[in-house]
Symmetry: C2
Subunit: 349 residues, 2 copies
């Protein structure tokens, strides 16, 4: 008869597994944590017991024992709801198994006071690491405060590597290059480009990729106008492009929202997409498929990038605890060209 007066526990514990497998809890722990140095026979016995009892380790106990309470802060800024949800899902998937805790903070504005406030909130919650999705991944203010506070940080979707900060990103330059090449392959020779917001390095990278590809086709002409990643800015930019001196057959917008705007402008002018005008975007957010016609675009593995960010962060946190100096990592993940119905061969001249 147990003398415990505590709440009865109903779930199976490591001790139950150990008892069934005829080994010590410690051995079960080793097997469950995939440590080596356990004889195959015992390992099998433990695994069998685990399966039989449907044992799942108690993450609270684990992180307590490991003395590694990891609270990971995320400063989000609703870049786009679609992006955010995929990003959150990716992070949650990764944290669920590792027993890390997510603390979200919204940063309404993109100005300095708002950023400072957001970071202060996270520091007050004493987070051990921070993930910065775009557009905050580029904020020097945030970076500096976090660095000063000695908090491990990972930036996501920056245009290029940042020597002082780990980041997870796609090769924006190359992706834009490939998309442009595809347009050239389709026969387009007069292509408009709508840039992204100048405060994000990804914008410059995408533009550069576009320019590099265009440089490879001497007979092609281009027109570049400034956009700011918003639907509204896309409207203005598209109007400007279509009113320009160059009769365009294709528009490459630096994100899907602006591409959607370009489609909208085209329709208002009685142009059929893609028969009269090809429109392509970047990011593969939800609008890409909500729209008619669905957008040809570049897909970033957002969810995988989020997971990678958490992974990098946990690694860095562990390294820091061991006293290792922070060593920034630059993880480039693969992108994909997705061809839907908004692109087609260039109309006959």
């Amino acid at each position: 008869m147990p003398k415990s007066s505590r709440k009865t526990r109903s779930v199976v514990t490591i001790n139950d597994v150990a008892a069934l497998a005829g080994v010590s809890p410690m051995t079960v722990s080793r097997v469950v944590n995939a440590e080596k140095n356990v004889r195959p026979a015992k390992r099998e016995a433990v695994l069998a017991a685990v399966r039989q009892l449907n044992y799942a380790p108690n993450l609270a106990a684990r992180s307590l024992a490991k003395a590694e309470e990891t609270k990971i802060g995320v400063i989000y800024n609703n870049p786009s709801a679609a992006y955010l949800s995929e990003f959150l899902v990716g992070m949650l998937d990764e944290t669920a198994g590792k027993g890390a805790q997510l603390v979200l903070v919204k940063c309404e504005a993109v100005d300095e006071p708002a950023e400072r406030k957001a970071v202060a909130l996270l520091l007050a919650a004493s987070v051990t690491g921070v993930v910065l999705p775009p557009p905050l991944s580029e904020s020097d203010v945030v970076r500096d405060i976090l660095k000063a506070a000695g908090v491990a940080t990972v930036a996501v979707a920056t245009g290029k590597a940042r020597g002082d900060l780990s980041c997870v990103r796609v090769d924006d330059n190359r992706a834009a290059f490939e998309m442009t090449q595809r347009l050239l392959e389709l026969g387009h020779r007069r292509i408009g480009f709508i840039t992204g917001h100048p405060n994000q390095t990804a914008s410059a990278e995408r533009l550069q990729g576009f320019r590099q590809a265009m440089a490879g086709a001497p007979d092609a002409q281009s027109q570049v106008v400034q956009g700011y990643f918003s639907f509204a800015s896309g409207l203005t930019a598209a109007e400007e492009l279509l009113d320009g001196p160059l009769p365009l057959t294709a528009i490459f917008a630096s994100n899907d929202d602006m591409a959607a705007a370009a489609v909208s402008v085209a329709h208002r002018r009685g142009l059929d997409v893609p028969r009269d005008l090809t429109v392509v975007g970047f990011d593969d957010t939800a609008v890409a498929t909500t729209l008619w016609p669905p957008l040809t675009t570049v897909r970033q593995p957002v969810s995988a990038m989020a997971a990678a960010a958490i992974d990098l962060l946990l690694t860095e946190i562990r390294a820091r605890k061991d006293g290792a100096p922070p060593r920034p990592v630059d993880r480039v993940t693969p992108h994909t060209l997705i061809e839907r119905q908004s692109s087609g061969p260039a109309p006959r001249a």
Copy 2:
């Protein structure tokens, strides 16, 4: 000299606070957990110490001590990315403080095998509770399996209360009623309605609210066509409405995606929104503001609803552990009418 050979812990613990405040750790615990029966003087001392040391309780230790490891499963189906992200944020905000764990499972299709598989995954992860956002909140299959497995469940955004399941929702009926009344106030007398997917009770509720409001204006006429919540279905439905015998001055779509489609159709036909045609939606998702003109719509407090769902779930889980019989709760949260530029007074007849 401490004889501990463990990892050094750097963060402040409850003992540090207790020592500084000159009380026992237990008293600190009581203060931190806002229990009564602590004399004001001691309470103040503890709070001061907490502030001074910037103490934050270790959630892992807390949930371990309370023996309440709560893993909450969520089956999502990407109803809309905007909805999902807001929903996730709401849940995370609520779980962060309570030390609950979220396990996400995607249910790609809405057919029975997919649903069964998703639930099986959650059960395998031995979750103690499940949150069902729409559209899975209405699945009888899911409900039955979870019930059989004895897992606490909360459904979110069902059209009406479900006697056998706790749910968090808005009053769809009333919201649709109010929106329709607003249209009538604006002078609209020939109003089209696009219904939602028939497999969701919210659809019927919204339609009923519309009908009830229309019944109050004997001089008004309406035309109702079937939609399925998708943008594409909205296109078809809007075409049908505008081709119909009734020259409409307003269209009320059962969600924003379909309203967006209606706007798109109107534009294609050279109708100005809202001068020639008022279009209103429901849900206030991201499209509502991505679009031009931004949509007048009904806002659900998605994030608050998600938080409420977590709260209900934790309460129910605790009740179950105490042996109380599950008692379904129906929590109705307030909605808001949001008037943007897609609605206006009816054109002169």
